[in-house]
């Protein structure tokens, strides 16, 4: 089942190659497009089936497939989904057809190869999310770069080559260190049990010396944080986004950035709990800086795509913050926010793509007064904008609220700073929205732009429907996430002594004089804040103590 889902797009990609004939044949383009779309839709339907058959109450991996691959090194073809990855898989399959649609009219250059790369990209992204074997994961992880590189480099805008090269080198530079850490981890397992293993579930139980754990964590975290991208590792993103074709931007923002946060949650944190606990505050600080920084920089961007790109930096900062909080609300909210951001930012890029298809520019100053010209498109734009600024009732709110709640329960100050992102997101999005859509039509070129075409309707309707559905009925999505998130948190915090002694929220600690007042009333907001029976310790990760006693 899973393998079928993962490799169906690849098979489709090969079929596309065959169907496209030799060279760049324009007469075959419609057939190629249709075929690619059909394949991606079939994949999407398959993922829906997967969701349908998924047992949302279990935290275990489901639909597991296991084949020996390189037995000498304990490498397996081992795939499965749990609550965390399930919806990301669905998201990937959901966005790919939209991405294909978004480039329906704007890509003319070698449609065959374009479709090929998009489908290959889908396979690799799906592979990233379903891999349980770290080696397999890394292969997919790295392979993702290749199709994306070509998508940006061939079908992008003016500075596409620079952006593509920067994209691939930057993200590769981060991930190669992770490769070393993966290998080191596998051998650590080998040293402990006699056989190296790349199976994630085996590796969860590996105990590392503090220094090793720290370095490995940093290697993993760097790879993921670059991908996220967390401030200050984000500069590849604006370039990549701005230069990528619409489909590339949609997938890049919609799915690929999530690979980073997914990796943090799935790999970096549970594999190295002590180090994760030790570094989480620092990462969270970066995340909060990123939230504000991304928003402020987004505010002053003259280019819509760049603006949305920086907004991604800001939004993903929320996700990372939620992960760093490592409590149920934070982590669940983070996972949810990954989905939200995928849909809403995907939608934003679709809109920007539509505008730039019409006008061949993305500069905000080139637009103005579009609402009078294209009311439907602007209405869609507005809805997506609202989803992006986390209006309650749209998807973004639930995620951001949970994240802020989780963060708040963990560290009040950070959450307070992060919450200012709520203001700033409204500032930059609405300002952009206003400059583009309101006012008089000042630029004659904008006077006669066509409104949404049927093709664009078919892109926008599902996207907006998802935005609203995820805002109104988040339970449907949150429920399967919860068991897996909880288990992950147990892995991270249960094993680390630091968990029970998370620092008291400083704001409360300093501002409330009678201490009992500050104690949360039962039911305790989160199992993590106070675990009965655990002595409160100095909030220092155990590993440090281990290291210092050596």
């Amino acid at each position: 089942m899973l393998s079928v889902i993962v490799f169906l797009p690849l098979v489709g990609a090969v079929l596309v190659l065959l169907a496209g004939g030799g060279g760049d044949r324009h007469d075959r383009a419609p057939a190629v497009r249709t075929l690619a779309l059909a394949v991606s839709l079939a994949t999407f339907l398959a993922t829906l089936l997967l969701w349908w058959r998924f047992d949302g109450t279990s935290a275990d991996y489901q639909f597991v497939e296991r084949h020996a691959w390189i037995p000498a090194f304990g490498i397996q073809y081992l795939v499965g989904v749990d609550g965390i990855s399930l919806l990301l898989v669905v998201l990937t399959a959901f966005l790919t057809p939209l991405a294909l649609l978004s480039s329906w009219d704007s890509v003319h250059k070698n449609v065959k190869m374009f479709s090929f790369f998009v489908l290959a990209l889908e396979t690799s992204m799906l592979g990233v999310f379903v891999s349980i074997d770290l080696f397999l994961f890394y292969i997919f992880w790295d392979f993702v770069l290749i199709p994306m590189y070509f998508l940006i480099g061939i079908w992008g805008y003016e500075r596409r080559v620079y952006a593509a090269v920067k994209f691939i080198l930057y993200t590769m530079a981060g991930s190669v260190l992770m490769l070393i850490a993966i290998i080191g981890l596998a051998y650590a397992h080998g040293a402990a049990t006699g056989t190296p293993s790349f199976n994630l579930l085996d590796l969860y139980s590996v105990h590392l010396p503090w220094r090793t754990e720290m370095w490995f964590f940093l290697a993993f975290a760097l790879a993921f944080l670059i991908k996220v991208p967390l401030f200050p590792f984000h500069t590849w993103l604006p370039d990549a986004h701005v230069e990528a074709p619409t489909a590339g931007s949609i997938i890049l923002a919609g799915v690929m950035l999530k690979m980073g946060t997914y990796g943090l949650l799935r790999f970096a944190f549970p594999l190295f709990p002590s180090a994760a606990m030790y570094f989480a505050p620092w990462i969270a600080v970066l995340a909060v800086v990123g939230i504000i920084y991304g928003a402020l920089v987004a505010m002053v961007q003259p280019d819509m795509k760049k603006l949305v790109a920086y907004s991604s930096v800001s939004h993903l900062g929320f996700v990372v913050l939620g992960l760093c909080a490592m409590n149920v609300q934070g982590a669940q909210g983070a996972v949810y926010q990954m989905l939200n951001h995928g849909v809403s930012t995907g939608g934003l890029f679709m809109i920007v793509g539509m505008l730039s298809d019409r006008r061949h520019t993305r500069l905000i100053s080139e637009f103005g007064g579009l609402k009078g010209v294209m009311p439907r498109l602007v209405a869609a734009f507005l809805l997506i904008t609202l989803a992006s600024i986390a209006l309650p009732g749209m998807n973004g709110f639930v995620g951001e609220f949970l994240i802020l709640l989780g963060a708040f329960l963990w560290n009040t100050k950070l959450a307070a700073f992060a919450a200012s992102g709520v203001i700033l997101s409204a500032v930059y999005m609405l300002w952009m929205f206003q400059r583009v859509n309101y006012g008089n039509v000042t630029n004659a070129k904008n006077r006669a732009l066509p409104d949404l075409t049927p093709r664009e309707w078919t892109m926008m309707v599902p996207t907006i429907a998802m935005c609203i559905a995820m805002g109104v009925l988040p339970g449907v999505f949150l429920r399967p996430i919860e068991p897996s998130v909880k288990r992950t948190i147990e892995r991270v915090t249960g094993r680390s002594y630091g968990a029970s002694a998370r620092p008291q929220p400083p704001l409360l600690a300093t501002l409330t004089s009678p201490r009992p007042d500050a104690q949360p009333a039962p039911p305790a907001p989160d199992a993590r804040t106070a675990r009965p029976g655990r002595p409160i310790q100095h909030p220092r990760p155990a590993g440090r103590e281990r290291a210092s006693s050596e």
């Binding site: 790295d142 590189y149 480099g153 593509a164 090269v165 080198l169 490769l179 290998i183």
Partner: protein, 477 residues
């Protein structure tokens, strides 16, 4: 029979080479003769013989040991040879290279390489080295009309001779140490001495032998000949020597350093680590600004030597197996990449400058696609052989705790991706020059197809090859 069984692949190749010369001698002027076919037959025969000898661990004449290690290298060399033969046909004709001599020297070189990989006597290693070196020097300069070819050959020759003098001096010290050039005896003498306080002779021997091998594998700072020789040589020869010479030299390197000199591990690991690091760094860094594809790939080949050195530095099972696998992966990859460069050349122009690749995607999408796969493999991106090879090598380093080498390795491989991508950028993202693109012969296509299949096969399903490599290293150590 068993006394000579291990020589069979060598003999087959030597005889094929002689047959090629004779064929040339009996060729009427202007007659086309499928000498490459002859070579293919011989190489296939050698490969079959190698397979047949598998697990036999045949010792022949006291100095040739056709253990699985040597046989694995034999197979790699046969693959390189076969690919060379397949892709040479057009090139030889186009460049007006004397066909008989070209094939004969290639086959002699391969013969020398196999000898080098299997030799258990330093003297034989030296002779084999000279055989392959002389053949390759000549191949480098085989285009007599080309001044660059002559210059490249001369530089290669002069430095080769210079370094082989050092190598020989090293052998002399090893001889002084143990009274023999047989590696078993050297090993015995060394382990008799104990590793604690190695004698001055042993150290000199290690240092000078390392110099000789490092030269052949083009490690920094013994690499200077590489870019010039690779650039000046006919491209197909570049492909051949960048892969085959490296394979043979690393085989001997591993056999000598990991077996008799193993007791001195503590002495040579720091030295080779530094060399490996320098090699990786210099190879990639200088590769960044190259504008000639052959020269770029020459620097890339230097970098790859650095990665392979990590395997030797690691000096463990994984490392040794990794060397073998990496050699195989690198062989098919680089043969493919340089093969395409060779096939793109025309009589008038070699078309090996970066800008000559502009727009290849339009004019020759197939070649561009293959080139991309080869370049990705060189860069170590999945799902290609190059990735598995790098992973394997770095595994070895990590296993031994040489994290810093692994880190340098991965970081330089990122840098190297940059210059591989420059070619990709040219091919896909730059508007094309209207360079004449020659037809590509069916045999060459077959060769490229073989190479790309191998690259992808080794990248996706490396298990068999990895097992084979692991199976091949039991006898050295």
């Amino acid at each position: 029979m068993t006394e000579y069984a291990g020589l069979i692949p060598l003999l087959i190749l030597a005889l094929t080479a002689i047959a090629a010369m004779l064929a040339e001698a009996f060729r009427e002027p202007g007659e086309r003769m499928p000498i490459a076919g002859l070579g293919l037959i011989g190489l296939t025969g050698a490969a079959v013989a190698s397979v047949a000898l598998w697990n036999s661990d045949a010792h022949s004449m006291g100095v040739i040991r056709s253990d699985n290690f040597a046989l694995f290298i034999n197979l790699v060399l046969c693959i390189i040879g076969i690919l060379t033969m397949l892709m040479s046909g057009d090139v030889v004709e186009r460049e007006r290279i004397p066909a008989g001599e070209y094939y004969a020297l290639t086959l002699f070189a391969l013969c020398g390489m196999m000898m080098m990989a299997a030799a258990t006597d330093l003297l034989v290693v030296f002779l084999a080295l000279e055989i392959l070196s002389l053949a390759v020097y000549v191949l480098t300069g085989i285009r007599r009309r080309s001044a660059a070819g002559a210059e490249a050959a001369f530089k290669y020759f002069l430095l080769g001779a210079f370094s082989s003098a050092f190598f020989l001096y090293g052998i002399a010290f090893a001889f002084a140490l143990s009274g023999s050039t047989r590696i078993e005896q050297i090993g015995e003498a060394l382990s008799r001495q104990g590793a604690a306080e190695p004698s001055m002779l042993a150290l000199l021997a290690v240092g000078l032998l390392a110099v000789g091998f490092a030269f052949k594998v083009s490690a920094v700072p013994f690499h200077m000949w590489t870019p010039d020789a690779y650039e000046g040589a006919p491209t197909i020869v570049t492909a051949f020597m960048s892969t085959a010479v490296k394979a043979a030299a690393f085989a001997a390197f591993a056999r000598v350093f990991l077996s008799p000199l193993e007791p001195l591990k503590a002495q040579w690991i720091p030295m080779l680590s530094v060399i490996a690091a320098l090699t990786m760094i210099l190879g990639t860094v200088v590769g960044v600004v190259q504008t000639n594809v052959k020269r770029m790939l020459a620097y890339s080949s230097i970098a790859h030597a650095g990665y392979l050195l990590i395997g030797i530095v690691s000096a463990n099972t994984t490392g040794k197996a990794a060397i073998l696998f990496y050699l195989l992966a690198y062989a098919v990859t680089n043969m493919g990449a340089l093969g395409i460069v060779a096939l793109l050349g025309t009589e008038a122009k070699p078309h090996d400058e970066l800008r000559d690749f502009a727009g290849l995607w339009r004019s020759r999408p197939g070649l561009a696609g293959l080139m991309t796969i080869f370049l990705l493999s060189l860069g170590g991106l999945p799902p290609t052989a190059g990735f598995i090879g790098k992973w394997y090598i770095f595994s070895a380093a990590v296993q031994e705790g040489h994290y810093w080498l692994a880190v340098i390795g991965v970081l330089t491989s990122v840098i190297s991706v940059f210059f591989y991508l420059r070619i990709v950028v040219m091919m896909y993202m730059t508007e094309g020059s209207d360079a004449v693109r020659p037809r590509v012969a069916a045999t060459a296509v077959a060769g490229l197809a073989l190479a790309v299949i191998a690259v992808l096969y080794l990248g996706v399903l490396p298990t068999r090859a990895l097992d084979l490599a692991l199976d091949s290293i039991s006898t050295i150590f």
